[in-house]
């Protein structure tokens, strides 16, 4: 991991000394290591390769959703609509696909199309109509949830085709050591590599950081702010669609499949050291953030803590992560 993956778009922050380099390693990996160590201490079977694969598989939807959310947050905005979009995708896939495997080839593009539309609307309402994204995406969340409910009457119909579910449910079997390599893990590796290249290695990625670092500075240096932010919203929505397909595969049809994913994704991104308000964030750390969040959930589960405590822990984590990020930002000036 190199520093330019982690820090801001301001190029003058280069030439880091050794200490700085060390400090810029996101602490999330340390937290993850501790969480995994405790899990393995409580349940040694967790360390076996098939268990670890199963763990990665269940992280996959959140990972993919969080990577999309990262683009929006780095560009200085929020996307609260991804959970509702995920639910809508699962319900739509079941209703129009109706369990027919021959329809899957057009169901997936349809869902991606829905994602593009939602992302465009979020982006354009935020950038052109200048509605704060918090409000704009809160609105689209309510619209999507309401529309899904209206359309299904509260009880989803249809079924998810087996071949659509395969991506989230099964994998390449018969492998040595790990046993099964879930498709979901492959998908998230591809998405993570793609997101890393896009955010940290392309001109577009630099523009996302620039917009999040300061709209005025970005505009003055020739960045097309509205286009960049809209593209970030579209990427977020597309990631949510992919996450929804993974989730549908894993867990099946449910009328609140994606509920809460927007907050989990934002938690993940914040845990990974991104700054709400933009300009800072890293895909690699986000992967660490998602793994950590899931590991902590697993941990709370192993200790038998109920859901309210899980929520409390998540809340405390957000605050702690935010405080640490702010502290680090102050230290590094």
């Amino acid at each position: 991991m190199t520093t330019d993956e982690l820090t801001t778009a301001v190029p003058t922050a280069a030439a880091p000394d050794r200490l700085r380099r060390l400090r810029s390693v996101p602490p999330i990996w340390l937290v993850l290591a501790v969480a995994l160590a405790v899990i393995i201490w409580r349940d040694p079977s967790f360390a076996e390769p098939p268990s670890l694969m199963a763990f990665l598989k269940r992280c996959a939807p959140l990972l993919v959703a969080a990577l999309g959310e990262l683009f929006v947050i780095v560009s200085g905005e929020f996307d609260l609509s991804i959970g509702a979009l995920m639910t809508a995708c699962v319900v739509v896939a079941a209703r129009v696909g109706d369990g027919d495997p021959t329809r899957t080839w057009w169901v997936i593009p349809l869902l991606l199309g829905l994602g593009v539309v939602v992302g465009l609307v979020n982006g354009l309402v935020t950038t052109l109509l200048r509605v704060p994204s918090f409000i704009a995406t809160l609105g689209s969340m309510l619209v999507l949830n309401g529309a899904t409910f209206l359309w299904t009457g509260g009880s989803p119909t249809g079924a998810l085709a087996d071949n659509l579910r395969r991506v989230g449910r099964s994998g390449i079997t018969g492998l040595p050591v790990i046993g099964q390599l879930p498709w979901a893990v492959l998908v998230f590796v591809v998405v993570a590599v793609g997101a890393t290249l896009l955010l940290h290695r392309t001109r577009f990625g630099h523009q996302v950081f620039a917009v999040g670092g300061g709209v005025r500075a970005a505009t003055l240096s020739g960045v097309d702010v509205w286009r960049t932010r809209t593209a970030a919203f579209v990427l977020s929505a597309l990631s949510a669609v992919i996450a929804a397909i993974l989730l549908a595969g894993f867990a099946g049809l449910s009328q609140d499949a994606g509920a809460g994913y927007e907050f989990q994704a934002i938690t993940t991104v914040v845990l990974a050291g991104a700054v709400l308000g933009g300009g800072r964030g890293s895909t690699v750390a986000t992967v660490g953030g998602a793994l950590t969040l899931q590991a902590l959930f697993t941990l709370l589960n192993i200790f038998g803590y109920p859901k309210p405590l899980r929520d409390t822990a998540e809340g405390l984590l957000i605050i702690a992560a935010g405080a640490y990020t702010a502290y680090r930002a102050r230290r590094s000036g």
């Binding site: 509260g154 009880s155 989803p156 119909t157 079924a159 989730l247 894993f250 867990a251 049809l253 859901k307």
Partner: protein, 398 residues
């Protein structure tokens, strides 16, 4: 002493959770009201375990209900009939009002559809006003107040939570309206009748007896629950626990899935890793039954002995994969019974003070009678609606 056990369908918990962040009041345990402990209780009395209620429900399971078995929504168990002549309004068109807790889950959607169909069967009902409280106690309290100005002839209430709605139901009674309560109860005696299936203890125990018999003494069983603190779900587990303890079943874990199928699947997968010889899974609601089966299948193992409910998707999987399963039901036909009770009252016919409906249990032998082909995945076949006009289309079927 009539007791007002709240009767919450399990799937409701999904809604409680989903709406948890914004709902005004949490369901509280108000169910274990009266009744002294009868026998030497092997299980201590707790907030969620009342020995007398448990004994009564266990007994009611074996009592043949009065009435025609082909119309279970008209049957009643151990009824104490009350006179309703003072509410009779013969020869008049009736305005029926219904305050619904919400349509927050497929069970309730299914029930509402069934109820509307039942209303259509009564030409003497000229108006049917439905207000939806959207799972909020405060909304339902004001809904009940509003309905008192609407010239209703009878009021049906499906309370959102027991304790919060009791005073509001009391006020509706004082206005002189005949009140019918169904599903979850209230802790006041004032409604003319309270319609509900036998109850949570019987539900949990019937399922647990099957599981215990399948896994044998010492067999490993996972109890997968939705969430803690909801009284009827607590009652189901309390009932099951008595049975498991007595049968010497090794309950290796009691987990909460928070109405999240992904989480349910994760929990079962984790337990399979830790206990490869896990033989049975007891669930407090059919909600996570499919996720449970899939967790076993994805781990390359045959599905365990497990419990479910009368949702279409589970029944279909049961038949397709020849599952070793049982399904206590919390039938949606009680939505029909509530309307029938209201019309009986307005006709001056006697109704039971507590209208206890049978609570059928689906087994592999009776599965085919319950499975209606062509229905949507979250159709509840315990609706008693199969012969109603508009079936199957109005219920989403083909």
């Amino acid at each position: 002493m009539p007791r007002r056990a709240t009767a919450v369908v399990a799937v409701l918990a999904a809604m409680t959770l989903a709406a948890g962040a914004c709902s005004s009041t949490k369901p509280t345990g108000g169910g274990t009201a009266s009744g002294a402990p009868s026998s030497a209780a092997p299980v201590s009395q707790t907030k969620f375990f009342n020995q007398a209620d448990f004994d009564r429900q266990m007994a009611q399971r074996t009592i043949a209900p009065q009435g025609d078995p082909s119309t279970p929504w008209l049957q009643m168990i151990q009824p104490t009939m009350v006179d309703t002549s003072k509410y009779a309004k013969p020869g008049k068109k009736w305005h029926l009002c219904f305050s619904n807790a919400g349509l927050s889950n497929p069970w309730r959607v299914n029930g509402m559809t069934t109820m509307k169909a039942e209303v259509k069967l009564h030409p003497e009902i000229s108006d049917f006003t439905v207000v939806d409280a959207e799972s909020k106690d405060d909304k339902q309290i004001s809904d009940l107040a509003d309905l008192q100005t609407k010239n209703c002839d009878a009021l049906i209430v499906a309370p959102n939570t027991t304790d919060a709605l009791t005073p509001a139901v009391d006020r509706a009674c004082q206005a002189g309206l005949p009140v019918v309560v169904f599903d979850r109860g209230v802790t006041t005696n004032c409604p003319v009748t309270f319609v509900h299936p036998i109850g949570g203890y019987a539900f949990g125990a019937a399922d647990a007896e099957f599981i215990a018999q399948q896994v044998g003494r010492g067999g490993k069983v996972l109890a997968l629950r939705i969430l803690p603190g909801v009284d009827v779900l607590e009652n189901r587990w309390a009932g099951a626990k008595v049975v498991f303890d007595k049968a010497g079943v090794n309950v290796v874990g009691v987990e909460f899935n928070n109405a999240d199928p992904a989480k349910a699947k994760n929990i079962v997968s984790d337990y399979l890793q830790r206990f490869p010889d896990l033989k049975g899974v007891w669930l407090d609601a059919g909600f996570a039954s499919i996720a449970t089966v899939e967790a076993f299948q994805d781990a390359g193992k045959p599905p365990p002995a497990l419990t479910g409910e009368d949702e279409q998707d589970f029944l279909e999987l049961w038949k397709k994969d020849k599952l070793n399963a049982i399904a206590s039901t919390y039938p949606t036909y009680q939505w029909r019974t509530a309307v029938i009770a209201a019309t009986d009252i307005l006709s001056g016919k006697q109704v039971p003070k507590e209208w206890v409906l049978p609570q059928p249990v689906i087994t592999s032998d009776t599965l085919d009678q319950w499975l209606v082909p062509g229905m949507p995945p979250l159709f509840y076949s315990g609706c008693g609606c199969q012969k109603m006009p508009g079936f199957p289309k109005d219920w989403g079927g083909k």
